[in-house]
């Protein structure tokens, strides 16, 4: 189950953070997202020889904590998407699919002429689309 998604701008400024459980502490999730930014920078600056190529957008599993797994995605415009999930067995294809749909929703939200680049995304449509994508993520991995 996805507990948190975040969009972080290219200066590591948060553009959108949404947590999807009431049980967990929102502050703890923000902290996890913040720590994962360092891992993203490290992955980008020191690409491993095996596996990840330098210019792929999907960064894969960033790091596992005690209860969560954190996945990362870096766009061409240096915007980072972070996904925090509690699922134990998550298929790679599902996460890639999630990030693809999330990227499409993000592009649509940013194309809003009233959106100021660098400021938080306040569009309700974007929030609804994200929660739809999050809900269907759970369904597709169960099926």
């Amino acid at each position: 189950m996805i507990v948190c998604v975040a969009v972080v701008g290219h200066q590591n400024n948060p553009l959108y953070i949404q947590s999807f459980t009431e049980a967990d502490d929102a502050l703890k999730l923000h902290h996890i997202v913040h720590c994962s930014l360092d891992v993203v920078d490290e992955r980008v600056n020191n690409p491993k020889k095996s596996g990840l190529t330098l210019n792929e957008t999907f960064l894969g599993l960033l790091y596992p904590t005690e209860n969560y797994k954190v996945y990362g995605y870096l766009t061409n415009t240096k915007v980072k998407f972070i996904l925090v999930t509690t699922d134990l067995d998550v298929r790679d294809a599902d996460v890639r699919n999630f990030f693809r749909r999330f990227h499409a929703a993000y592009v649509d939200a940013v194309s809003n002429p009233f959106h100021v680049p660098g400021k938080r995304i306040t569009s309700k449509t974007f929030a609804e689309r994200v929660s739809n994508i999050v809900k269907s993520f759970g369904l597709s991995s169960a099926g």
């Binding site: 290219h10 190529t53 330098l54 210019n55 792929e56 957008t57 870096l74 766009t75 061409n76 415009t77 240096k78 990227h103 499409a104 993000y106 592009v107 940013v110 194309s111 002429p113 680049p117």
Partner: protein
């Protein structure tokens, strides 16, 4: 999922934008009008670059980003690619488009009002206002890809008027800190 708009609408919108900013809003200060138009282009380029880089792997260096602008970005906007790309390897790129789509319907009026200015430079001056918007688009797209730069354009010195239609080759030059 995208909806389409007819090209004549885009042409009318661009013409009207330049006309309003030059004749109405900033009629006494054409430099401010130019800067406003360029700023609009900057925001548009910013957003377009997000959309058109969506399904691509990341760029490894500046040259890849410039080639993206010349090929994919230009094809999405103008249905053709840049015809010629030159660089001095010290931070300047020159993109040449032999038939810039947004200028292709501008005609050169051979009648001269007062005879003090020759028709070629008057036409060039009028055309240059229409080039600020695409300059802004290029600058916005490149700065969103991480390359802050300055973009300028000029109508190159090829034969200007033939049968009242201005051939529309233009050169965009991009300067960035190396």
């Amino acid at each position: 999922m995208g909806r389409e708009v007819s090209e004549s609408c885009i042409d009318s919108l661009l013409t009207e934008m330049v006309a309003s900013y030059c004749n109405q809003f900033y009629s006494n200060t054409p430099e401010l009008a130019a800067r406003r138009i360029e700023a609009i282009g900057y925001q548009v380029g910013h957003q377009l670059s997000e959309r058109y880089t969506m399904d691509r792997p990341r760029f490894t260096d500046h040259l890849e980003a410039i080639k993206f602008i010349c090929k994919d970005f230009w094809s999405e906007l103008f249905k053709k690619q840049i015809d010629n790309l030159k660089t001095n390897h010290r931070g300047t790129f020159v993109l040449q488009d032999n038939k810039f789509r947004w200028l292709s319907r501008i005609s050169g009026d051979p009648s001269v009002d007062n005879g003090t200015q020759d028709p070629e430079s008057k036409a060039a001056q009028a055309m240059s206002m229409y080039l600020y918007f695409p300059c802004g688009i290029i600058r916005g797209a490149l700065s969103n890809l991480g390359i802050p730069c300055a973009v300028s354009a000029d109508i190159s010195s090829l034969p200007a008027c033939e049968y009242n239609w201005i051939l529309s080759p233009c050169c965009f030059s991009i300067k960035y800190a190396f």
